[in-house]
């Protein structure tokens, strides 16, 4: 089975000029666990996940440093830069292995340099549930 058969194509994104507080709001509201970070030209330059946020938060020692993190820090500073991506024609089993190797919950799908979708561990579990794998 290929990635394109089970990937999702309706993506929530955030800009490089957004603050950490903005990212928290978008993640909480949209119910997704990661946002692709796009530059002004619409190119993916990173991923901001709940994991990145909690890791950054865990690195704060007091209330003041946390306030600085949320209100005065840009997503750009805590995101995972230049994330690994997969192609829509790749085999789901190979992609499953890459998620495990990279310890990521999802991989974004790029086709000819353009962001076209996302495939998550949940999508693979759904394929298992439907006995498609």
């Amino acid at each position: 089975m290929r990635v394109s058969a089970i990937m999702r194509t309706n993506l929530k994104t955030i800009g490089t000029d957004a603050t950490v507080a903005d990212a928290v709001a978008v993640l909480a509201k949209s119910g997704v666990s990661a946002l692709p970070v796009l530059d002004r030209n619409g190119r993916v330059v990173g991923i901001c996940s709940t994991r990145d946020l909690l890791d950054a938060e865990a690195g704060c020692s007091d209330a003041l440093s946390r306030e600085h993190l949320f209100e005065r820090t840009l997503v750009l500073e805590i995101m995972t830069s230049w994330p690994a991506t997969v192609g829509p024609q790749e085999d789901v089993r190979d992609v499953a292995q890459r998620m495990l190797d990279g310890k990521v919950q999802r991989l974004f799908v790029e086709d000819a340099g353009a962001l076209v979708g996302v495939i998550s561990q949940t999508d693979i579990v759904a394929a298992v549930a439907a006995a498609r794998v």
């Binding site: 507080a21 928290v24 709001a25 993640l27 909480a28 509201k29 666990s33 709940t50 994991r51 946020l53 909690l54 890791d55 938060e57 865990a58 704060c60 007091d62 209330a63 003041l64 440093s65 946390r66 306030e67 949320f70 209100e71 789901v92 089993r93 190979d94 499953a96 292995q97 998620m99 495990l100 310890k103 919950q105 561990q121 949940t122 693979i124 579990v125 759904a126 394929a127 298992v128 549930a129 006995a131 794998v133």
Partner: protein, 133 residues
């Protein structure tokens, strides 16, 4: 294939009275997305996930004091109570369906009323990657 074949048995847990800040440290340190919450008697009473923490941060009434919220909130206040559990003899496809219907990333495995393991989406993804499903 059964749940017991691919579940993890080495579990981190947190207590109901511990602070969310303590939980965040374990979540970040161990790179896990959900912690089983156990009572003083060691019984599974809830689960605290990175999503629960994110919601707490997003809903903090006063953004200026967001940093203090994590220390001042007990795990019991934001955990998801009575998490869905599965037995060690359950079929993997059935467990995958339960994850999807429950919109959860992990199922705790109970046997005779005791917490014996956890089955995460990653465990299922690993089985797919290894062509074991």
């Amino acid at each position: 294939m059964k749940v017991a074949d691919i579940m993890q048995t080495n579990l981190e847990t947190i207590g109901t009275d511990d602070s969310v800040e303590d939980a965040v440290e374990i979540l970040a340190d161990k790179h896990i997305s959900g912690l089983p919450v156990v009572s003083k008697r060691g019984q599974l009473v809830g689960v605290l996930s990175t999503t629960d923490v994110l919601q707490l941060l997003a809903e903090a009434p006063d953004p200026e004091r967001r940093g203090e919220v994590l220390e001042g909130t007990q795990v019991r206040e934001i955990m998801t109570a009575k998490p869905i559990t599965v037995g060690p003899d359950a079929d993997i496809h059935e467990a995958a369906r339960q994850m999807l219907y429950g919109e959860i990333h992990r199922l705790f495995v109970e046997f005779d009323g005791a917490l014996v393991g956890v089955l995460t989406q990653s465990d299922i993804v690993a089985a797919v990657a290894g062509a074991r499903l």
